[in-house]
C-alpha cells in the first residue's frame, strides 16, 4: 500500500477562522480546486469550544456564540465551493508545495500550486512557562478547560485560580463559572491596568505584580504558590489552576518547511500579502501572531484571496525583503517583512504587542538611519492586547533597503 497522489490549486492547512475565511474567499474568487485540511473531527478551530457570544460582531451587536460562528464559517467555505476535509492530519512535507497526510481513508501526498498555512496558535502550558512544583491533576490551559467543559461535560473541580489577565482569562472565568467552579483569585505578574475599585464587582480578586512560583499537591492540586514583586509570598488553596494566554503559533509545519520565523511572534515571517519565505507558501491567521481575535483571523483569510490569485496567475515571488523589527518593550509587529509593490496590511495598519503598559507611546520608524515615521498614539497600549501603527509610511520604505526598526522614543 502506498500514498494516493493528488493535486489541487490551493491547499489550506487548518479550518479555523483564518483557513475557512481564506478558502471561502478563494473559492468565491473562482479558484477551482480549493481544499481545506483539518486535523480535528469538526471544523471551526478554537471558536468550536468558545461558548460565549461576541463572535462575528461589529462591536455594536452581541454577535453569536463560538460554535455557531464555527458552523457558519465552515458552511461559508463549502458553500463557496471549497472542499473541506476533517480528521485529516498533515504529517510533513514531501517537497516545497507537497504535503503528506494521514486520515482514516489512508495516506495521501497532495501537490498544491499554492499552500496556505492556517494552523493557528495555542496557549503555553505550565511546563513551557517553567512553573516548578508537583505535577498534579487539575492543571489546565483555557483551551483544554473549554473542551473539557463544553465538549465533554467533565467535572472540573471546586476552587480555581486563573493565571493571566488577557481577554482569554475572562473567557476562562466564564467557563469555570459555567462549570460551577468558584474562581478564588486571578494572578498576573503585570501591574494593574485599572484601579482595583474599578474591577467588576463580582469577579475574583486580581493579584497584580504577582508571579506563580510553584504548584503543590499530589495527586490533585492543593495550592498555587505566588510571590509578589515586593517579596511577599503566599499559597492560594485551590484544586484547579488555569494558565491563560501566553500564546505561541502552531509553527511546526512552518519550521519543518524551513520557513524563516519572526523572532518576536515565533510565527512565519511574512509580508502584507501573507507571503512567507518560501515561494508559493502563504501563512495567515494566528500562526502569524498568537493571538488575535477570530474576526481578525477571518479577515486576514479573506484578504488572502487577492495575493493568492495574483500568485497563481504570475508565479511571482519576492526574494529578499527587509524585515520589520521592534525594540523592547515592544514584543512583536505583524506583518514583519516589507514586500515589493503596493500591498498594504489589513486595515492599512500594523498590529503590535507590548511587554508593559504604555501611556500614549511615541512610536518611531527608521530604516537605514532615516526616520520614516514618528507618531504619538492617543490610546494607551497594554500587554496581551493589540495596538496599531498606521501603515502610511510604507510608501517611504525602501523595499531593497535594510531592516525597518520600530521603537519607542
Amino acid at each position: 500500500m502506498t500514498r494516493r497522489e493528488r493535486s489541487v490549486d490551493v491547499l489550506v492547512v487548518g479550518a479555523g477562522p483564518a483557513g475557512l475565511g481564506a478558502a471561502a474567499a478563494l473559492a468565491a474568487s473562482g479558484v477551482r480546486r480549493v481544499e481545506v485540511l483539518e486535523r480535528e473531527q469538526t471544523a471551526g478551530g478554537i471558536p468550536r469550544h468558545c461558548h460565549h457570544k461576541g463572535f462575528g460582531s461589529r462591536r455594536t451587536s452581541g454577535g453569536i456564540s463560538g460554535p455557531e460562528y464555527a458552523r457558519r464559517s465552515a458552511a461559508a467555505a463549502t458553500g463557496a465551493g471549497a472542499v473541506l476535509r476533517t480528521g485529516i492530519t498533515v504529517t510533513g512535507w514531501a517537497g516545497p508545495r507537497i504535503l503528506d497526510t494521514t486520515g482514516p481513508g489512508g495516506l495521501e501526498r497532495i501537490t498544491a500550486r499554492t499552500v496556505v498555512l492556517a494552523t493557528g496558535a495555542r496557549e503555553r502550558p505550565r511546563s513551557a512557562r517553567l512553573v516548578p512544583g508537583t505535577r498534579p491533576a487539575g492543571v489546565y490551559t483555557t483551551g483544554e478547560l473549554q473542551q473539557a467543559v463544553h465538549l465533554h461535560h467533565q467535572h472540573i473541580g471546586s476552587r480555581a485560580v486563573i493565571v493571566g489577565d488577557e481577554p482569554v482569562a475572562d473567557a476562562a472565568a466564564g467557563t469555570l463559572r459555567a462549570a460551577g467552579v468558584e474562581v478564588v483569585a486571578r494572578v498576573t505578574d503585570r501591574p494593574p491596568v485599572r484601579p482595583a475599585a474599578l474591577e467588576p464587582l463580582h469577579s475574583a480578586p486580581l493579584l497584580t505584580r504577582t508571579a506563580v512560583t510553584a504548584l503543590t499537591g499530589r495527586p490533585r492540586l492543593t495550592g498555587v504558590a505566588v510571590r509578589h514583586e515586593d517579596g511577599r509570598t503566599t499559597t492560594l488553596p485551590c484544586d484547579t489552576v488555569v494558565f491563560t494566554g501566553d500564546w505561541i503559533p502552531e509553527h511546526e509545519l512552518a519550521r519543518r518547511a524551513g520557513l524563516p520565523l519572526d523572532a518576536g511572534t515565533r510565527g512565519p515571517a511574512h509580508d502584507a500579502a501573507y507571503r512567507t519565505g518560501e515561494p508559493g507558501v502563504f501563512a495567515v491567521g494566528n500562526v502569524l501572531h498568537g493571538v488575535e481575535s477570530a474576526g481578525t483571523a477571518a479577515a486576514e483569510g479573506r484578504a488572502l484571496a487577492v495575493p493568492v490569485l495574483r500568485h497563481l496567475a504570475t508565479g511571482d515571488w519576492p526574494a529578499d525583503r527587509p524585515a520589520v523589527a521592534v525594540a523592547a518593550p515592544l514584543e512583536w509587529i505583524t506583518p514583519n517583512l516589507i514586500g515589493p509593490g503596493d500591498d498594504r496590511p489589513l486595515g492599512d495598519r500594523f498590529i503590535l504587542r507590548t511587554g508593559r503598559s504604555l501611556t500614549a507611546p511615541l512610536l518611531v520608524v527608521r530604516q537605514d538611519g532615516v526616520e520614516l515615521h514618528r507618531r504619538r498614539l492617543l490610546r494607551p497600549a497594554r500587554p496581551g492586547r493589540p495596538f496599531h501603527l498606521p501603515a502610511g509610511w510604507l510608501d517611504r520604505a525602501d523595499p531593497h533597503g535594510g531592516t525597518v526598526h520600530v521603537s519607542l522614543d
Partner: protein, 476 residues
C-alpha cells in the same frame, strides 16, 4: 499453556490461592527491577505475586529517569553493578530488539570543557577497557566540533562511547510485567505493604488490601527497600533519595544534538547531560540533590535555573526552544558505591537495594542474578520454560508509527485517526492500550503506554478528549 491473566486493583481484597496455599514467591515493587524479576520467575512453575503500592507499574523511580541504555563503561571495575550493567545491557538490547521496545544507538560523547577534564579522559578510556568495553576512543576538538556542530564554544576534546543508547523507560517495565502476568504471575496494584511477619514456613505481609502469605520474599521496593529490609531485623543500608530534575525540550530541538552529551564525571557526581530521547525530544538533566523525603518529586526554581545555566553552556541554541515537560525523579542512593543485593537463606528473603540510575540497563541481569540466588536459597524453581513472545506498540519516533502505515490503516481506519496531534497518537493505539493486559488507569498511565498527551501542547488540543477516553474505559 497460557495462564489466566490476574491483575487486581484497589477495592478488591487479595484473592485466595487454591487450597489456601501461600504464594511461593512475592516480589515487592513493580518498578523496572521488580517487573524484570517477576518476568524471570514467570519462566518457572512457581506461584508468584508482584505487589505494588501505586495504581500502575513503573510509577516510581522507573518512570522518571534519563532513559539511557548504558554500556557500563564508567562503572567501578569489579563491582556487582559493573557486571550486571554489562550483562544487562546485552540482554535488554536483545530483548528490546525482539519485543519492539524503542532503542536508538546514538552513542555518547564525554565532552571536556577545560584542561582538567581533558586530562581525565585517558583514565576514563582505561576504565572502559577495564570494564571490558573496547570501542571507546578519544576525539580531539575538531572531531568533536564536526560531530556536534551546535555545541557551545570551548569543547577541548571528548571520549566517544559509540554504543551508549537511549531507550524507552516506560515500555520496558510494561513489557516485563505484561509477559509476567500473561505467564501466570499475579499482579496486585494499589497494594502497599505495611507490616511483615517473617516466619520459617511463610511470611505474612499486611497490605492495604488484606494479608498476603508467601514462602519467599524479594524486596525490590526501590526507595522503600530499606524500610522493608528493617522488618527482617536488618540495618544493612539506608536509602537516601537523590532528586534528579530534568527538562524535556520540544521535538523541533532534536536536530541540535546527535549524541548523548555526557559531562566528564567529577567528585561532585556525574553531572548534567543533554540527550536525545527515543520520542524525538531532547533531555537536559539531571540535578543531584540529596533529600530525606521519599515523596519529594517536585521540581524547583533553583533546579530549573541550574539546568538552564548548564544547558546554555553545552548547547546554547537549546535554550531558545520550547520546553515540553519538566519532571523530577528520585534515585535510591544508599551511600555505597555498589548495588545492595543480598540473599538471606535462613530467612527465605532477598534484598535488592541501592539500584540507582543504571537499574533500567541492568534490570534483566539483576533478575537473573536474583533468580539464581533464590534457587541457592532453597526454592526448587524447576525447569524453565520459554515465555510467549510479546510485541510492544512502536512508540519510537524513528520506528514505524501507525499513523504512517498505509497497510495498517487500510485494515483498521482507527490507525488513521489522530487523537494526540503533537505526538501523532491514533485512536487505534489508544483503544489498544485501553484493552491491553495492563490497561492504563489514568491519563498519565495512558501517556506512558502511547505518548498521548505528552507533546508540546500538554493537552491544549487533546487533554479533555484523552480524559474522556480513560473515564469511558474505566466504566466498561
Amino acid at each position: 499453556m497460557t495462564q489466566p491473566v490476574t491483575v487486581t486493583t484497589a477495592g478488591d481484597p487479595l484473592p485466595e490461592l487454591p487450597g489456601g496455599a501461600p504464594y511461593d514467591v512475592t516480589v515487592i515493587g513493580a518498578g523496572v527491577v521488580g517487573t524484570a524479576i517477576a518476568r524471570a520467575l514467570a519462566h518457572h512453575p512457581v506461584r508468584t505475586a508482584l505487589v505494588e503500592a501505586s495504581d500502575d507499574i513503573g510509577d516510581g523511580t522507573s518512570k522518571a529517569n534519563t532513559a539511557i541504555l548504558h554500556t557500563g563503561f564508567d562503572a567501578v571495575p569489579g563491582s556487582l553493578e559493573a557486571r550486571l550493567v554489562r550483562e544487562g545491557q546485552r540482554k535488554l538490547a536483545a530483548y528490546a530488539a525482539g519485543t519492539g521496545i524503542p532503542v536508538e544507538r546514538v552513542g555518547a560523547l564525554l565532552v571536556a570543557w577545560d584542561a582538567g577534564q581533558l586530562a581525565a579522559l585517558p583514565a576514563l578510556l582505561a576504565k572502559a577497557e577495564a570494564n571490558g568495553y573496547h570501542a571507546a576512543r578519544l576525539l580531539d576538538a575538531d572531531e568533536v566540533a564536526e560531530r556536534e556542530p551546535h555545541l557551545g564554544p570551548g569543547a577541548l576534546g571528548a571520549l566517544e562511547v559509540p554504543d551508549e543508547s537511549v531507550i524507552c523507560p516506560w515500555t520496558t517495565p510494561l513489557a516485563f510485567a505484561t509477559q509476567a502476568v500473561r505467564a501466570g504471575v499475579h499482579l496486585h496494584l494499589d497494594c502497599r505493604v505495611g507490616r511483615i511477619e517473617p516466619a520459617p514456613d511463610h511470611h505474612t505481609l499486611t497490605t492495604g488490601r488484606g494479608p498476603l502469605r508467601t514462602r519467599y520474599l524479594i524486596n525490590a521496593a526501590g526507595l522503600h527497600a530499606d524500610e522493608i529490609d528493617r522488618q527482617f531485623g536488618h540495618d544493612h543500608f539506608t536509602v537516601t533519595p537523590r532528586r534528579g530534575q530534568l527538562i524535556v525540550f520540544d521535538k523541533l530541538a532534536r536536530d541540535l544534538v546527535r549524541h548523548i552529551l555526557l559531562p566528564v564525571p567529577t567528585a561532585a557526581g556525574k553531572g548534567v547531560l543533554v540527550a536525545p530521547t527515543v520520542f524525538g525530544n531532547v533531555l537536559l538533566g539531571p540535578t543531584a540533590e540529596e533529600l530525606d523525603d521519599k515523596t519529594a518529586t517536585e521540581s524547583t526554581q533553583e533546579g530549573i535555573a541550574l539546568l538552564r545555566e548548564k544547558g546554555r553552556r553545552i548547547l546554547p541554541r537549546l535554550l531558545d526552544e520550547e520546553v515540553t515537560a519538566v519532571y523530577a525523579g528520585l534515585r535510591a542512593a544508599t551511600g555505597h558505591e555498589d548495588y545492595r543485593i543480598q540473599a538471606h537463606p535462613g530467612l527465605n528473603y532477598i534484598a535488592v537495594g541501592g539500584i540507582r540510575s543504571t537499574g533500567l540497563t541492568a534490570s534483566m541481569a539483576i533478575a537473573d542474578h536474583v533468580t539464581a540466588l533464590l534457587a541457592d536459597t532453597g526454592l526448587a524453581l524447576g525447569t524453565p520454560v520459554a515465555l510467549e513472545p510479546l510485541t510492544m506498540p512502536g512508540l519510537g519516533e524513528t520506528g514505524e508509527r501507525p499513523c504512517l502505515d498505509a497497510g495498517l490503516i487500510a485494515r483498521d481506519p482507527a490507525y488513521g485517526t489522530l487523537v494526540c496531534h503533537c505526538e501523532r497518537v491514533t485512536e487505534g493505539e489508544i483503544r489498544d492500550a485501553l484493552r491491553s493486559t495492563l490497561p492504563p488507569r489514568s491519563v498519565a498511565g495512558l501517556a506512558r503506554r502511547t505518548r498521548a498527551g505528552n507533546g508540546r501542547c500538554q493537552g491544549f488540543s487533546c487533554g479533555a478528549g484523552l480524559r474522556a477516553r480513560i473515564e469511558e474505559g474505566s466504566r466498561t
